[in-house]
């Protein structure tokens, strides 16, 4: 079991009524999908906010960053960086700077 840190944007941590940074226990390989599964299990109101319910696809104006790199287009089975899996670096959820 890994404890992963996730930083949410204002709109989502106010919706979740959580702190901006939360910790999630992730069982098995620390992939982006596994972290999102754990996030939605802990905060059901975020289901559908980051990825499409039906397809699992990332919402177009949501991106994921960690360790200075864009992790948004990682494959479903690709591992997040070790620093994230070890809880030393957070996974950042970022709303695109777009629109009004």
């Amino acid at each position: 079991m890994n404890t992963v840190r996730v930083v949410l944007p204002y709109s989502l941590y106010t919706l979740a009524r959580s702190a901006a940074e939360i910790e999630l226990d992730v069982a098995g390989p620390v992939t982006l999908a596994a972290v999102l599964d754990a996030l939605e299990a802990a905060y059901p109101m975020l289901t559908g906010a980051l990825r499409d319910r039906a397809t699992g696809q990332r919402r177009p104006l949501v991106r994921f960053f960690a360790c200075q790199d864009d992790q948004s287009n990682l494959g479903a089975d690709a591992l997040l960086p070790d620093e994230v899996a070890a809880g030393r670096e957070p996974l950042l959820v970022v709303g695109a700077i777009a629109g009004g």
Binding site: S11, G48, A49, R53, R59, V62
Partner: protein, 370 residues
């Protein structure tokens, strides 16, 4: 003592405006859900402290919020609006086929008798119902069988924006869709039929088509539920037979384009509209913000201007942004894309702004609390 609660949805949050029956002094609460688009908030007639709000954003999708204390606190409830089966394709603006995809909830219509039952009109157009206080949502898919493949988006999207529940016949309901038209169910939503006979839309291939009309709003008086009024893309229409046939009642309006419409709470033949210049000029004719009132069920309209800006006004009044209370005299309310919410406590004779600088107003609904 009765009092009034106005539920205002805006581009950047929800606001709740409250007053006593005099409707002079208002308290403003908000923004609730700041930064999110609030397409609609509605209260349950069966339990006025039960509110439902549609909260959405282009970034993070759809949320439904529920309050059980009149808006003092809220909880997010279910947001799974999955269509039944494969919804297939609908027409796009350019005439090509496009896959049906859920985007947002435009309108929430609580049951008049059960606080836990509420209907949701969504984009891409479909009707959903919850019977557990919004925790789960189930589509009424027979509506899309009414030539859904021929529906196409209006300029604002392919939205189901109007839901009317017949207060006399619980099995009867109406919906309206841009740009598909109006539809009626006489069996609680199990089956539907288009009710667009008499509509004429010169901008579609068959101007008299059974579906494809850009209906902007339908309104009904609860004491006369077979009489319906419609603000269409062009034309103000009326039906006296539950939508089986429509006839035009635009009369002397300065423009028969517009979005919002309401019926007086105590006078079934008194109707309000806000004419807008045109489909490409979404502002009032001549820069004058005028509500038009007909006391004859249409055709003869009087401009109501006292207290409304009569020069340099270029706001819009959107389809869900007009409502009435049930006090006597009847209060009339509307919100603008300029962020004003206006009230007339005397059925439209005099107006004043309750607030002037909210974000663009998407919806206004009114609760008369006794």
């Amino acid at each position: 003592m009765p009092h009034i609660r106005i539920l205002v949805g805006t581009r950047k949050g929800a606001f709740i405006l409250t007053s006593d029956a005099a409707r002079r002094d208002w308290q403003v609460s908000g923004p609730h859900f700041g930064g999110w688009e609030i397409f609609h908030i509605a209260g349950s007639p069966a339990n006025p402290d039960r509110l439902y709000a549609s909260q959405s954003s282009s970034w993070f999708g759809q949320v439904i919020q529920r309050s059980d204390d009149g808006g003092a606190s809220w909880i997010p409830v279910g947001n799974d609006f999955s269509y039944v089966g494969d919804p297939g394709m609908h027409l796009h603006y350019d005439g090509t086929a496009k896959p049906w995809a859920f985007k947002r909830v435009w309108h929430l219509e609580p049951s008049p008798t059960d606080p836990d039952t509420v209907y949701a009109g969504v984009e891409d157009a479909a009707l959903f119902r919850s019977t557990d206080g919004g925790m789960s949502w189930h589509e009424l898919p027979a509506l899309r069988e009414q030539q859904g493949a021929q529906w196409m988006p209006g300029a604002g999207g392919m939205c189901l924006h109007t839901i009317l529940l017949d207060p006399v016949n619980p099995a009867r309901m109406y919906v309206a869709i841009s740009a598909a038209g109006a539809f009626r169910s006489d069996d609680g939503g199990a089956s539907w039929r288009p009710i667009n006979r008499g509509l004429h839309s010169q901008y579609i291939p068959d101007p008299e088509a059974e579906v494809g009309h850009c209906v902007h709003r339908i309104a009904m008086h609860p004491a006369r539920p077979d009489t319906l009024f419609m603000q269409k893309h062009w034309d103000v229409m009326r039906s006296d037979d539950a939508g089986d046939a429509w006839f035009e009642v635009s009369g002397n309006l300065p423009s028969d384009f517009g979005f919002a419409m309401a019926v007086h709470a105590h006078e079934p033949d008194t109707v309000y509209v806000v004419p807008i210049q045109s489909d490409s000029e979404h502002y009032p004719p001549e820069g004058k913000l005028r509500v038009y009132r007909s006391r004859a069920g249409g055709n003869a309209w009087d401009a109501l201007t006292d207290g409304l800006p009569q020069e340099h006004c270029y706001v819009n009044v959107l389809r869900d942004a007009m409502a009435v209370d049930t006090l006597d005299p009847c209060g009339v309310y509307f919100g603008t894309t300029g962020g004003q919410v206006y009230v007339s406590p005397d059925a439209g004779d005099h107006w004043r702004a309750i607030v002037r600088d909210l974000p663009a107003v998407l919806s206004v609904s009114v609760q008369t609390l006794r």
